[in-house]
């Protein structure tokens, strides 16, 4: 996936169909590195227009109940602080994220992620 | 590049002469420290006025004995975050009592102009579309200063003490 922060308010945004939007679940998933790179290039227009800053690609993997970022950092960015469930994107979600994404709070520490099914 | 001095655009007296290029017959020249050092005698004798351009890591201390023969010193900002030239300028003015022009060249920002002025710069090479009104605005952003510096502005402490 491709992400950035909005210049005006710092909100985390994701790339979808040639524009930015704040919803992780609606973000575009790239299976091919080339398509991801093309999107990253296209996104630079928004940087030049001073709409977003800090564009970069990150990895996600497919899980039973949807898609989740591989790295803890991106999981937290997609939700909000794990210690304040009432703050950030998660505050607006209908399902409490702890239930929706068991990967955070309760699961035992995963061994080194094996990276079978990694998309960007 | 446009040059601001004493708050106004002025004609540049110097032409930068890159390494290996011959000097013009007359007119002021700007040279690197290396070139100045290697051709010092002939430059001082034949090519005045002269401006020596120092990179950010070149301490002007090396020029201290030649300062009476140097008409201007350009201090370079490779990137605006590199703040060494702020100390070099101050050292030139305070320690060596240098009276010639000290010029800021390279990548520095509007937001640094007031500080540059305070530490002893008096000339600024600015980008093409820079307006003189911006320069005046930068100088007027802060009314008071807390520290004594080259510009000898009265500090807040001095005003408080009625000095």
């Amino acid at each position: 996936m491709l992400t950035a922060n909005r210049l005006l308010d710092g909100e985390v945004v994701y790339w979808q169909g040639g524009d930015w939007q704040p919803d992780f679940a609606a973000a575009e998933i790239f299976d091919e590195a080339e398509a991801a790179k093309a999107a990253l290039d296209a996104a630079q227009a928004f940087v030049r227009d001073n709409k977003v800053v800090g564009t970069y690609l990150f990895e996600v993997r497919k899980e039973a109940n949807g898609v989740a970022p591989v790295k803890e950092r991106e999981i937290i960015r997609s939700l909000g602080p794990s210690v304040r469930r009432d703050m950030g994107k998660q505050a607006l979600m209908p399902v409490p994220p702890a239930a929706a994404k068991p990967v955070h709070e309760t699961s035992p520490p995963p061994p080194y992620p094996e990276e079978p099914d990694v998309s960007i | 590049m446009p040059l601001i001095k004493n708050g106004a655009f002025v004609e540049d007296r110097f032409v930068f002469i890159p390494e290996g290029q011959a000097f013009p017959d007359d007119g002021g020249v700007m040279v690197s420290l290396a070139r100045f050092q290697s051709e010092r005698d002939s430059i001082i004798a034949h090519h005045r006025p002269v401006c020596v351009r120092l990179a950010a890591n070149e301490n002007p201390d090396v020029l201290k004995d030649d300062l009476p023969n140097i008409d201007a010193i350009a201090l370079e900002f490779p990137i605006f975050r590199d703040g060494r030239a702020f100390s070099w300028a101050r050292m030139l003015r305070e320690r060596f009592a240098y009276q010639g022009e000290i010029r800021a060249v390279g990548h520095f920002l509007y937001d640094q102009l007031a500080f540059l002025m305070r530490v002893g710069f008096d000339a600024f090479e600015v980008r093409q579309d820079f307006r003189i009104a911006e320069f005046s605005r930068a100088m007027a952003e802060m009314t008071y200063v807390y520290q004594p510096s080259v510009d000898r502005r009265k500090t807040v402490m001095q005003i408080r003490r009625g000095e």
């Binding site: 803890e72 960015r77 520490p109 | 703040g83 702020f86």
Partner: protein, 557 residues
Amino acid sequence: MYRYDEFDAKMVRERAQQFRYQVERRIKGELTEDEFKPLRLKNGLYLQLHSYMLRVAVPYGTLSARQMRQLARIARDYSRGYGHFTTRTNMQYHWPKLSEVPDILELLADVEMHCIQTSGNCVRNVTADHFAGAVAGELEDPRPICEIIRQWSSFHPEFNYLPRKFKIAVSATKEDRAAVKYHDIGMEVITNEAGETGYRVFVGGGMGRTPYVALEIGKFVGKEDILAYLEAILRVYNEYGRRDNIHKARVKILAHQLGADEFRRQVEVEFAEIKRHGTLHLPPEELKRIEAYFAPPAFEDLPETAPEFEAAVKADAGFAAWTRSNLTPHKAKGYAIATISLKTIGQTPGDASAEQMDGLAQIMEDFGFAEIRVSHEQNLVFPHVRKKDLPAVYARLQALDLGAANAGLITDIICCPGLDYCDLANARSIPVAMKLQERFADLERQHELGEIKIKMSGCINACGHHHAGHIGILGVDKKGVEFYQIQLGGSGAEDASVGEIMGPGFGKDEIVDAVERVVETYVALRAPGERLLETYRRVGMTPFKNAAYQEQMYAAY
């Protein structure tokens, strides 16, 4: 406390306008993000994981009730109802919008506050002993000189683009509560043989990737010369600090590379030059003028203790426990220094809600406290409380959920925001701190364990001072998964030392058990009266390490 005059007031007003113009230019695109970033950082504005974060300076950790109320208001209106007190005694707001920040600066200016140089490669907020002016055995209140340094360093024309950030702290007692030897410059107020007070000046302490305890550079610097001496140090650093490698750019690297003698020699050369000019001389009358602002309140002539206090200690075990951990002897009879723990179990260490801040301001007004302090241990302090008022103050604190009796104990954990908020983090720190607090929640056990300082950082930048923790915990990232390294034996006090790394990290579900085994090992090995730090210094790492890794060798991966 210090009050702005027209000059200081105008400075912060103009600064707000200056920043408004910078924001406008950024939004219009006249400044690129690369150019804007150092400018916004000099104003304490970061772009973090979820939003911008604004860091407000609390110079030498001193706040009035009016300022506390304004901080509450800003939290409510711009930061979703809370703020975070940091180890630099600043206040951080996690949720402001870029376009709102100039308005926040105006609100701060209204109460004589600002965000000037709370980040960026410049001289940062000056910190001092949080018990300054109240504790016994102090040579003098260190805050007047801090205020003078605040003014001297604000908008310093020569030193706003240093190789890296620069932090100064001042202490005036034998006990060092300001961690002076972990600062770029640490100043200790001392007297010389002639009986004059001045400063011993340490340079080149620091945490981060390469922790160093500072070197003694100025053995005795007279008061009138101190600004000139600081300026000399900064100049040597500005000229010769490394700029090619961000990890080697702090003055600690330069100072330790040159060694104390050579660094001192270079400073002395600059110092002589600056003195020759004479302009930075600090007139004694000016120092006196500033000192007058910090004059302590007129202490009443009170008996050593008060019947209300003694009765409450007997009647209320909770209060009794709080008095044991959270009170420090005051220099005036019948008074105490009260630490307000921001480490209530189940809450983010250092966080305070707008309601709590308002409530604290109300207590200050009701009891006539002119000031409250922020400590680098992320707690707050009422410096001058009459003992007879303590039961009532405690009750009010409890009502605000701020009555935890754990100051200096194992659950009084210093903890940076970590990966829950911070863009630079490798791992979360807050949830680990909270789990540790739960594990050791039993108050009797905490008091029985005595002083144990756990300090935790979410990355090598060490905002949580993990190098200086009796038990330090550092979050690391292994391929996107969080791990936690333990360090033992650090101290940020007068016996400063850098903690020793135990070994490979523990997983996030193992770290709490590992810490508990370390603590149990201490209990088993300690000599009477020995703190964990002392036991560790006596017996070394091995027994702790063996215990910690017991069943955990797989954690080493």
